[in-house]
């Protein structure tokens, strides 16, 4: 192509693009890409985040719901009353809510959903959310009374999870392939391996959303993700898998880049029961041997917030404890020598597939080598990781992002894979569960963060960033990810 023809070609393209931009205001459909395809569409019986990304607040709604800023607001429950002792929640449901199949959503459905989730044969991946429920009673069609066995300050938060959405007994049988909920969008079509289409629900009880249809496309390869955005195949990429390409999108006026935070605490998980990690000095040495910023820059291209404990920095109760485990290889070497490992030791570092682990693992292994710790890198798939690391506890170190919101409670489970067993921490969590006063809770959460930081349970690396890429005209996208969700009801095209 000569320069001349290239120029004329480029100008034709530019004219075409501007014509297209002029029409953009009329656009009422959107194509959103995500990396993983949901296995099925029932958020109440699987852990896959991809399910929630498609269905949460779009197809299914719960009693309460998360907003983009992480706050919990009323969902299907219009309001609620909490008894003085904090054990009885009386929910008042919205009137006139129907499921997509036309049946009415009432207190019976709420009872059905909650009882199903906590039943003995329940397949709910977060069954612990419902463990405190003692009974669910239908008072009248629009009132439901939930009695807890003990006060639980997190209860309204728990009910906002995708695993706690309200489903109907009439449509439960085929929920995995034909989800029927109460949300603003109905399930349209699923071309497995390719895409899922949702359509606006004209009978929605709330405000009608702007978009008529939404298509979720599944593109797992990072290079393909870049190409799909660049070639205009998709309008939004929910969690862009190639952070190295983001500067290119940032420099391009056709696109916007949304950098937010997720609930993912990325940690160097340490097997606290496996020698030499049962020695707190060794764990402290690990913490000081790690240069967080180098990992964030090297593995995540600068995206991510350093953390010094297992807590999301955007949470109001967060305490910045990064100074507690500041990068100090000399101190690390000294601590190792004190613990009797002056010549270092050998251990394993299991790395699951995400790039934060694979890339971050290489850097961490190099940093540990500086203080004499030889970490053998073992790359594993998720299924293998779950089997050998998580269940088998057969590991020294591993890198993983804990993406569940508010999951500091896992440190109170001595059988959890990193095997931290502290009666102080367990007592603290018990106290927290019984506390409903917000200020008191905040203080207790601060104490909990400090305790696990000073016990150096794990190496705390960074809060995983949410990296979204979208066409410039798309508005209303969640910048942060308080839970896995792509809330279509808020999304529209600017004029």
């Amino acid at each position: 192509m000569t320069k001349q023809t290239f120029r004329s070609f480029a100008s034709v393209l530019a004219v075409g693009a501007s014509l297209f931009a002029g029409q953009a205001w009329a656009k009422s459909d959107i194509t959103i890409a995500m990396q993983l395809e949901p296995p099925h569409l029932d958020p109440t019986s699987a852990a896959a985040q991809a399910i929630d990304s498609v269905v949460y607040t779009n197809i299914f709604e719960g009693l309460t719901r998360f907003m983009g800023d992480g706050s919990v607001v009323p969902g299907l429950a219009e309001s609620w009353e909490i008894s003085d002792d904090g054990t009885v929640y009386t929910f008042k449901l919205h009137d006139g809510v129907t499921f997509h199949d036309g049946s009415t959503m009432d207190a019976e459905d709420v009872k059905f959903s909650l009882d199903r989730a906590r039943a003995e044969d329940s397949a709910n991946a977060q069954k612990a959310l419902f463990a405190g429920i003692d009974s669910v009673e239908v008072v009248d069609p629009l009132t439901v009374k939930v009695t807890l066995s003990a006060p639980n300050g997190n209860f309204l938060f728990n009910m906002a999870w995708g695993d706690a959405v309200i489903v109907a007994p009439e449509s439960i049988e085929n929920i995995k392939t034909n989800p029927v909920g109460t949300g603003a969008y109905t399930f349209g079509d699923w071309v497995q391996g390719d895409s899922i289409t949702l359509n606006r629900n004209p009978n929605y009880w709330g405000d009608q959303p702007a978009l008529e249809t939404a298509t979720f496309k599944f593109i797992s390869d990072p290079t393909a993700a870049f190409a799909a955005m660049m070639a205009d195949d998709v309008d939004v990429f929910d969690n862009f898998p190639a952070p190295e390409n983001l500067p290119q999108f940032e420099a391009d006026s056709r696109f916007q880049v949304l950098v937010g935070s997720t609930e993912g605490e990325t940690i160097l998980s340490t097997n606290n029961k496996k020698p030499p990690f049962d020695d707190i000095r060794v764990r402290q040495a690990l913490a000081h041997a790690i240069d967080r910023q180098a990992i964030i820059d090297g593995a995540m291209f600068g995206y991510g917030t350093p953390i010094g404990t297992h807590f999301a920095p955007h949470n109001p109760a967060y305490v910045d404890l990064t100074g507690n485990s500041a990068y100090d290889p000399k101190k690390a070497a000294q601590l190792l020598a004190d613990a009797g490992y002056a010549d270092g030791f050998e251990t394993t570092l299991h790395l699951p597939p995400p790039s934060y682990a694979r890339r971050g693992g290489e850097i961490i292994a190099a940093q540990l080598a500086e203080v004499g710790i030889k970490a053998e890198i073992i790359n594993v798939e998720w299924a293998q990781w779950l089997e050998s690391v998580f269940k088998g506890k057969d590991f020294g170190l591993t890198i993983v992002s804990h993406t569940e919101p508010m999951d500091i409670g896992i440190y109170a489970r001595p059988d959890y894979y990193f095997q931290y067993d502290s009666s102080d921490f367990q007592a603290l969590m018990e106290l927290l569960n019984e506390t409903t006063d917000p200020d008191q809770r905040k203080k207790l959460l601060g104490d909990a963060q400090r305790l696990i930081a000073t016990d150096f349970v794990n190496g705390y690396l960074f809060q995983l960033a949410k990296l979204g890429v979208a066409k410039a005209g798309v508005q209303g996208l969640w910048e942060n990810a308080p839970t896995a969700a792509i809330d279509l009801t808020q999304i529209s095209w600017s004029e």
């Binding site: 852990a47 797992s220 290079t223 190409a227 070639a231 195949d233």
Partner: protein, 315 residues
């Protein structure tokens, strides 16, 4: 002939039976529990047990093997652990992408390779031959996913003639479907065409040295006439064998291309199923591919025997 066919059929059955045992064993031995993969890190033990029972994972390995094989014999491939839809339906859906893609790529590679190979053979040692051979060397050396990325960069991102990936679906019309398979088909076809062109050339060169070619020239045919009438036809036999092999390869081996172009084909299904430990899907798809390859070989054997009577008496 019948005796020969019968013997081949018996060996086909044995191969399939052995394959089923090997596939089942290899896949079941790999660590990873489908139930815990699906329910994640917060799942409780009783929940996992309930799901395992629901998926039929609580039986013994032997029991599950026989359930799987006996199901397949009557065309029931079981139900996917993750998708909860019949595996046979999933395979059928994916074949509608993978099969046309393989055929498309094969057609393209043949269309490129035949003229290139014949041209190179006819101009043996001349610049034209060297150019074609150099190009084919490059085509073999460069991996097809690199071709794929270059094609996307040029034709999807810069020129906007094609989508960067995805499959429009045949219900959008034949040409729309074909259009969305074009870039992947070209990416798959180029390395195959390079191999095929070289085979075509060397096979043709062998034939050109045969006595009957000299006879053809002696009876007054021009070089070109002899090449087309007698050379190409006789050179086709090894070429067709390669084409047969390539078809099985294209059907089973397009995993990477399907990832790069995010096509909902068989390769991507296997890839997703392996990482999700959807064992039943992996086992069934691999078994199906083995079946396809063995059956193609069986048919090729029969075809050889039909063409060459010596083969029949030998066995």
């Amino acid at each position: 002939m019948l005796r020969y066919a019968f013997k081949r059929l018996i060996s086909l059955m044995i191969s399939l039976a052995v394959a089923s045992v090997v596939i089942f064993a290899v896949i079941e031995v790999a660590p990873g529990d489908p139930a815990s993969f699906m329910l994640g890190v917060n799942a409780q033990e009783d929940t996992l047990a309930a799901l395992r029972a629901e998926l039929g994972l609580d039986g013994s390995k032997l029991e599950r093997y026989f359930n799987w094989v006996s199901g397949m014999l009557v065309g029931d491939f079981g139900t996917s652990y993750t998708y909860r839809t019949p595996v046979s339906q999933m395979i059928q859906d994916r074949l509608w992408v993978s099969l046309p893609l393989a055929l498309y790529a094969l057609t393209l590679s043949t269309l490129i390779a035949f003229p290139a190979g014949i041209y190179a053979a006819a101009r043996r040692g001349k610049p034209g031959d060297l150019t074609v051979m150099g190009a084919t060397q490059l085509g073999i050396a460069v991996p097809n996913f690199w071709f794929a990325m270059m094609l996307v960069l040029i034709f999807a991102i810069n020129l906007r003639w094609f989508n960067a990936g995805g499959f429009a679906g045949w219900d959008q019309g034949f040409w729309t479907g074909l259009h969305s398979l074009t870039l992947p088909a070209v990416a798959l076809a180029l390395p195959q065409a390079a191999i095929l062109a070289r085979v075509m050339r060397s096979s043709l060169l062998d034939i050109l040295g045969e006595d009957f070619m000299r006879t053809a020239r002696a009876k007054g045919l021009s070089r070109r006439q002899a090449l087309w009438r007698h050379g190409v036809r006789n050179a086709l036999i090894p070429v067709l064998t390669i084409i047969g092999l390539q078809f099985s390869f294209l059907l089973a081996g397009s995993i990477i291309i399907e990832q790069v172009f995010y096509l909902p084909g068989l390769g991507r299904l296997v890839f997703q199923a392996i990482s999700a430990r959807d064992l039943i899907v992996v086992e069934s798809v691999v078994m199906l591919l083995v079946f396809a390859v063995i059956t193609v070989n069986f048919l090729v054997d029969l075809a050889y025997a039909a063409v060459d009577p010596r083969l029949r008496s030998r066995t």
